[in-house]
């Protein structure tokens, strides 16, 4: 089946209707159809994590799922997470720590890190490194990213006590 099919989903809270080819992956759909260029494409085969988005609250590699598979779901991208303020503290920690250089891996890193912080309140450095180990960064050497995530975890823990 190669004819276009209709899909409807929520993207960053907004309803989206589109007619897409079944072979179109979600990353290309977000980038090309919706012009949400914050979702980056590094490898197109699920290895680098640059295209990470949230689908129904779970992180996924948007290059590995098809737009039609997102039918009926809620997709959140870096633009949505930025505008809602959900990761403002994490972004500030990245800025403070220079946890990004070229910034190409950064949206995927932030979304993956936020996923860890939602599930684990006090991850140690090893756990942070593990959780991020599917996200490729060629520029930073990772240490600054680990520092920024660790600092955010600590600050959040303090705020919640």
């Amino acid at each position: 089946m190669t004819a276009p099919v209709p899909v409807s989903l929520l993207v960053n809270g907004d309803p989206v209707e589109a007619i897409v080819l079944p072979r179109l992956n979600l990353a290309d759909f977000l980038r090309d159809n919706l012009k949400l260029t914050g979702t980056h494409v590094g490898c197109e085969h699920g290895v680098c994590g640059a295209c990470t988005v949230r689908v129904n609250g779970e992180i996924v590699r948007s290059c590995l799922i098809l737009a039609v598979q997102a039918q009926g779901s809620s997709v959140e991208t870096i633009e949505g997470l930025s505008d809602s303020g959900e990761i403002a503290d994490l972004q500030a920690a990245f800025r403070e720590r220079n946890a990004l250089q070229c910034g190409y891996c950064t949206p995927g890193m932030l979304i993956t890190a936020q996923d860890l912080l939602k599930h684990t309140s006090a991850p140690d450095r090893g756990a942070i490194r593990d959780h991020l180990s599917g996200n490729y960064c060629r520029c930073t050497g990772y240490q600054a990213i680990v520092d920024a995530v660790e600092a955010t975890a600590r600050a959040r823990a303090e705020r919640s006590t």
Partner: protein, 797 residues
């Protein structure tokens, strides 16, 4: 931080009140990237923009017999299918040579291959369509008839008479050879108590920038102008080359470079497919976008290293190193890359081997040969990891041979910190290095003696940990001696223009570029400091040949040292211009005034006299109130290039602490230390992060990264799943410290820091692995140090 000399005079601009120089301040404009709102070329869309994909040769070496695109041309969305022959009408071929690398030869290379392909991945046709999917669909229907030719793949046999010559017009497969001899090497070896020899093997690896190479070329036929949006490190070089080969004037070409998703030397070259994209835009009279996919990146982004280097060192029983000798062989693919050439790395290896050490006896031969593999060229820390691994590997072997501690042998041979200026045996001029201060600091950071004790205790429990040390020198701030003397139009100077706007804010246009290193930040920090203006009021414009002074861009660690000094000098002029106007307005004397914290103040008591926005208002809107004869110039431009030293050499030392699992061959990195001397530090955090990123790239080469070819020249691991790179789980924490020896060639005193991490990391790791394996009598002089290599050395497989 240790400062080696009090170079900074007390009235220097570096000491101005509220200076940002030497302070960690967050990079301006990071929010854009943090919110996913950067603008990378891969994000760019223009009206009427078409997409190009390239059909690439599946063979490493083959004749193109026929191309049939009839079906493809009729497919939906297809605008054109263009072959090399058709494109030749728009763009001329090129030859990647430089005249100062005597004897370097290469063959004409075309934007799209015409009769013959010389590596797997060379483009044979361009398919242009209204969208990328349509172009890819059509590409599958282009039929090419090839006649496969024998591929030259092994550099060791590339020069054999029985090996086919890739470019018959060149006579043989030797692209370049350099022989160098200094001192009396034979005598020195004969006087040694021991001579140690080893064969060092360096795998081919590649940059794997996370954003692939991307370009949008937009020929505007009405204006007769080509705008090239490209993630490049050298916009003016791209402008010059594109114009040259398309038959345009430089002024008809504009190169714009916004955000760049990683570069590392990958994006300092101009690739055939990029040339083809410029030409296609001109041919088809519309914007054309090319974004490499990941497989194309692996097959066509320049590869790096690929050296086999025989090394020899002589040593006396007291640890004195008597001589170094190397014979280096490197394979560069079928063409010398244009316009920087693929001979620079081997040349650099000759320049750098033995560089940190006293001995003046040094003999070297480097040969660069053609192969039917992807092109090989400059990548981060050009030649440094090779030179450092060979030198430091030999020094460790010499130490082991005479039973001396690796630190002790270095202490006895590193050039003394007070011996400068001096020259290396290859003729490199050193202004001021700090090997001993750096080594001392490193040992203290890593608690060397305690670590040795720990290592010995663990060995008894069958845990095999190793310590590896690597001293290095690093070439930064390259002058015209790098490319200009060889005839390449790659600028070694950079320029900065600063101006004050009507609200007292400052705009600087600089010819250096930003790929995440922090060029914007360092420029704003310098300009803000020198002017006395807060950083928030400084905006930096870069990456646009229409809107920045002419300059080299950002490569070979030149941004801070060259572009930074230009910014400093321009800001000084603007400051004095502002103070002159202020003196006229305030009826004071320029010498009695200064600028601090956005105000013109009295030098004597610091009392603010006029805010800069008020001064700017008067200058721009009420110039009639100024005294007659005053014409304020709230703009200044300065350029800078180092003249006295062709390169600002820096130095550093790294140490690695790791554990080898002798059953599985796996290496676990435990800790890494770096001490580096890049002169004046503008932003400590940015320098440290440059170094950490560089170290991790070096660790990748040391342990994982290798482009694997089969004997027919097929790259068999051209994807991110099979080509391994460092991920966060495998990387250690990296401690960084500094010794500071500013260069006196500039007022700023900054040298580069971008290569340092990559320069020494692999050598430190290899030495640590060998240190761990010493009880087994195994020595490895090959990277990447994969489990297979380690288990083979241990005799386990």
């Amino acid at each position: 931080m240790t400062v080696t000399r009090a170079a900074v005079d007390p009235l220097s601009v570096l000491d101005r009140p509220n200076s940002y120089i030497g302070k960690t301040v967050p990079r301006p404009n990071l929010d854009r990237l943090l919110q996913g709102r950067g603008q990378y070329v891969s994000d760019l869309e223009l009206p009427r923009m078409a997409h190009v994909v390239f059909l690439r040769s599946p063979y490493a070496h083959a004749k193109i017999v026929a191309i049939n695109a009839d079906i493809a041309k009729r497919m939906p969305g297809v605008i054109s299918v263009v072959t090399g022959r058709e494109l030749e009408a728009v763009i001329t071929p090129w030859v990647g040579v430089l005249s100062h690398l005597k004897g370097l030869k290469s063959a004409p290379q075309y934007a799209i291959a015409i009769d013959r392909v010389c590596w797997q991945g060379e483009a044979v046709a361009a398919i242009v369509a209204t969208n990328r999917a349509a172009a890819e669909d059509a590409m599958e229907k282009v039929a090419v008839d090839y006649e496969e030719l024998e591929a030259v793949t092994d550099m060791r046999t590339a020069l054999d008479p029985s090996t086919p010559v890739i470019h018959p017009s060149l006579g043989d497969n030797l692209a370049f050879e350099r022989i160098h001899s200094a001192g009396d090497v034979d005598h020195a070896f004969s006087e040694s108590d021991a001579v140690v020899e080893a064969d060092f093997v360096f795998g081919r690896h590649t940059g794997v920038t996370l954003e692939p190479r991307a370009v949008v070329a937009d020929w505007n036929a009405a204006e007769a102008r080509l705008t090239i949006y490209q993630g490049t490190q050298a916009p003016h070089m791209v402008q010059n080359i594109a114009a040259l080969h398309l038959g345009l004037k430089d002024a008809q070409v504009r190169v714009v470079c916004n955000d760049v998703g990683g570069s590392f030397g990958i994006k300092v070259h101009i690739y055939a497919d990029e040339m083809a994209t410029y030409a296609l835009s001109k041919l088809l009279r519309r914007p054309v976008k090319f974004v490499a996919d990941r497989i194309e990146s692996f097959n066509t982004d320049i590869h790096a290293r690929d050296h086999r280097c025989k090394g020899r060192v002589g040593v006396r029983q007291d640890g004195t190193i008597t001589a170094f000798e190397i014979d280096d062989l490197t394979g560069i693919g079928p063409y010398s890359m244009y316009p920087r050439t693929s001979a620079i790395e081997a040349n650099q290896v000759v320049n750098l081997v033995g560089g940190p050490y006293i001995t003046q006896n040094y003999r070297a031969r480097a040969r660069v040969v053609f192969q039917n593999k992807n092109v090989m060229c400059q990548y981060r820390a050009v030649g440094h990891p090779i030179a450092c691994s060979v030198t430091e590997g030999l020094v460790d072997l010499a130490a082991a041979k005479i039973g001396m501690d690796p630190v002790e042998i270095r202490r006895r041979n590193l050039i003394a910190d007070n011996a400068y200026p001096c020259a290396s045996p290859s003729g490199m001029k050193f202004e001021q290095l700090s090997h001993h201060a750096s080594l001392a600091k490193l040992l203290q950071m890593m608690r060397y003696d305690a670590l040795r004790t720990e290592q010995a205790a663990l060995r008894k429990r069958n845990i095999h940990r190793g310590i590896g040390i690597a001293s290095f020198i690093e070439v930064t701030n390259p002058s015209a001696a790098f490319y200009g003397v060889g005839g390449a139009k790659i600028s070694s100077q950079d320029g900065v223009a600063v101006r004050m706007d009507a609200q007292g804010s400052v705009i600087c246009q600089t010819s250096i570029t930003e790929q995440g290193q922090g060029s914007e930040s360092l420029t704003a920090q310098i300009v803000g400091s020198v002017l006395g203006v807060s950083m928030e009021r400084v905006r930096v414009i870069l990456g646009d040949t229409d809107n920045t002074p002419y300059g080299g861009g950002t490569w070979a660690s030149r941004g801070a040292g060259i572009g930074g000094e230009a910014a400093l000098q321009a800001a000084k002029i603007l400051r004095s211009n502002i103070v002159d106007v202020a003196a006229a307005i305030l009826q004071s004397n320029p010498a009695a005034l200064d600028i601090v914290d956005n105000h013109v103040v009295n030098t004597s008591d610091g009392v603010p006299r006029i805010e800069l926005n008020e001064l700017a208002r008067i200058v721009y809107f009420r110039p009639d109130t100024l005294p007659p004869g005053i014409q304020p110039e709230l703009m200044a431009t300065r350029h800078f290039v180092p003249r006295q030293y062709p390169f600002a050499f820096t130095n550093g030392v790294q140490a690695s602490w790791l554990e080898v699992d002798t059953d599985t061959g796996f290496v676990k990195l435990l800790k890494h230390w770096v001490v580096e001397d890049c002169g004046t530090i503008i932003n400590p955090q940015l320098v440290d992060e440059q170094i950490r990123g560089g170290v991790v790239q070096g660790l990748g080469a040391a342990l994982f990264e290798k482009c694997i070819y089969d004997e027919r020249g097929q790259l068999i691991n051209a994807n991110m799943a099979d080509y391994l790179v460092p991920m966060s789980g495998e990387m250690p924490d990296i401690e960084v410290a500094h010794v500071v020896s500013p260069t006196l060639e500039s007022e700023l005193g900054a040298k580069g820091a971008g290569e340092a991490g990559t320069a020494g990391a692999a050598a430190a790791v290899a030495n640590a692995v060998n240190d761990a394996l010493r009880p087994f009598g195994a020595t490895i002089t090959e990277i990447p140090l994969t489990p297979q290599v380690i288990l083979t050395a241990l005799g386990r497989i």
